[in-house]
């Protein structure tokens, strides 16, 4: 049976990576507690929310992400790529834990959900762990992750500033003066979150990608008020519509995945028509920026691997460092043939908003910053091995692109930098022979007292 959020919590607990808090906690304080905990956190009693529990920080380290994916930390990208390659269509089921409680009409009240305070400069309480499903009459279903800022008991802001398939769907609905129906699942397994984060081609189904990651189909259930489907084992589901008002409502600031407190943005409003949840729901507080960044990393890395393979370059390892939020930098080692250092750079720089790409040979351990520095120092000549591409697609949350100078709904551009740190063509490999210590294969330190 497919793993749910609860199964992942049990896995974390078994691995000693989950801390339980039994004392009653005020929802206003949970984010601070999650940020102080070295382990993922589960609050089993929430003040003013009887019957609810809250978990957070589940994926704040690559170790815990690797645990979710059942492999080592350095295998995360490869595992994600494997999952992409075996997409499995979802199943439709009629019975769903997420429908154990259904609130319609006057019972719709977002204040009944433990909307947490997250950061000092946020414009309101936020839900950050969303899996948002939408549908377009021509292009079909799409799933993504979009933050929600509490506004009223029936409305939230929704961040649709960045380019995405759902933004495209919303624009098409808006052009007709129509709302866009959406359904938001909160509290799903990390595989579903990863699939929602992946920038899949518009004709592919993120639920099928999640199925590939799980190695079994995702059970989906039809929503109560909109013609959409959501994971049956979700903890909470919000159904409703994005109002056809365009980018006109203030939203933010929010502690962005760029590790910066963002700016006020102009966004549409999501109106909730139905809330469903389990009888004993667990609210998932996705801790920004770390959980978001660790979720981003394998998605960016897998996109990099796909781009390299499409360019007929053989990747050996790839890394999207958390310092770049798992998003803006890709470092790859390759099994190089002449010219492929540059081909690899061009491929990596084509990935989403990646603005720095570094390529090394396979003898360099890209997970070791010192080894990477060594390659950058001795394999790079700036006049030959650096590529700069101007005017590529950028992302608002990067302050260096001056997004505030754009009008409402405007899209920014960025410059991209590639560094080829492979051994330059024409330099014999003998000049890069590593030091080896005499007798190292024969003499072992542990044999000496």
């Amino acid at each position: 049976m497919k793993k749910s959020l609860r199964d992942f919590l049990a896995d974390l607990d078994q691995a000693g990576e989950l801390r339980m808090i039994e004392d009653t906690v005020d929802v206003r304080d949970v984010s601070a507690l999650v940020s102080q905990s070295k382990r993922a956190l589960m609050c089993n009693s929430l003040k003013d929310y009887p019957g609810w529990r809250l978990c957070g920080g589940l994926l704040s380290t690559r170790k815990r992400l690797a645990l979710a994916m059942g492999g080592s930390e350095n295998e995360v990208a490869m595992r994600f790529e494997e999952g992409l390659g075996r997409a499995l269509d979802p199943l439709i089921v009629s019975d769903a834990p997420c429908h154990e409680v259904v609130r319609l009409g006057s019972e719709v009240d977002l204040t009944a959900i433990p909307f947490p305070m997250m950061h000092v400069l946020d414009g309101g309480p936020y839900i950050s762990a969303t899996m948002v499903t939408s549908k377009d009459p021509e292009f079909g279903r799409n799933v993504g992750s979009y933050r929600l800022m509490y506004r009223t008991p029936t409305e939230t802001g929704i961040d649709l500033v960045s380019p995405s398939d759902m933004r495209f769907y919303y624009q098409r609905a808006l052009d007709k003066g129509q709302p866009l129906d959406i359904a938001i699942a909160i509290g799903v397994h990390p595989y579903e979150m990863l699939a929602a984060s992946f920038k899949a081609p518009i004709d592919s189904d993120e639920y099928a990608i999640a199925g590939g990651l799980h190695r079994e189909p995702i059970p989906l259930v039809k929503c109560k008020t909109v013609d959409l489907e959501v994971p049956a084992d979700a903890e909470i589901v919000l159904e409703g519509e994005i109002l056809p008002i365009g980018w006109t409502a203030d939203e933010g600031p929010f502690g962005e995945f760029s590790q910066i407190s963002g700016d006020v943005k102009w966004n549409p409003i999501f109106r909730v028509k139905c809330i469903t949840h389990r009888k004993d729901p667990i609210f998932y507080l996705l801790q920004m920026p770390w959980e978001n960044d660790w979720l981003c990393a394998p998605v960016t890395e897998a996109a990099g691997l796909l781009a390299l393979r499409a360019a007929s370059v053989k990747p050996v390892a790839i890394r999207a460092p958390v310092g770049s939020c798992g998003y803006w930098t890709l470092i790859a080692s390759i099994r190089k043939r002449p010219g492929e250092g540059k081909n690899a750079l061009l491929a990596l720089l084509s990935v989403a908003e990646v603005k720095l790409a570094i390529v090394t040979d396979e003898d360099v351990d890209i997970h070791d910053p010192d080894d990477l520095d060594w390659a950058l120092t001795f394999r790079v000549q700036a006049d030959r091995d650096v590529i700069i591409v101007d005017g590529a697609r950028g992302k608002h949350v990067d302050p260096s692109i001056r997004a505030w100078e754009l009008g409402k709904g405007g899209l920014p551009t960025t410059a991209k930098l590639g560094i080829d740190a492979t051994i330059p063509e024409g330099i014999p490999k003998k000049f890069y022979k590593r030091l080896r210590y005499y007798g190292n294969d024969r003499v072992k330190l542990e044999d000496f007292q």
Binding site: G124, P125, Y150, R151, E155
Partner: protein, 69 residues
């Protein structure tokens, strides 16, 4: 004239007195249960008169105070 609860009125008056970050408004009402605060904040939002300054603080553009019920 919009009628709002005393708690929402308290929030309105505080923001009229001085533009506030949302967290400052929350801090000033830690004695109020969170769901109750959120409902009151929803009332303030529904007035459709809140504005944002460049640092994200909430303020009221007009000066006409709503009436508490």
């Amino acid at each position: 004239m919009t009628v709002i609860t005393p708690l929402a009125d308290r929030i309105v008056r505080a923001i009229r007195d001085r533009p506030q970050q949302f967290a400052e408004t929350v801090d000033a009402h830690r004695d109020v249960p969170w769901p109750e605060f959120l409902r009151a904040w929803g009332e303030v939002r529904a007035l459709n008169r809140l504005e944002r300054d460049e640092d994200g603080r909430y303020y009221f553009k007009d000066s006409e105070p709503p009436t508490a019920n």
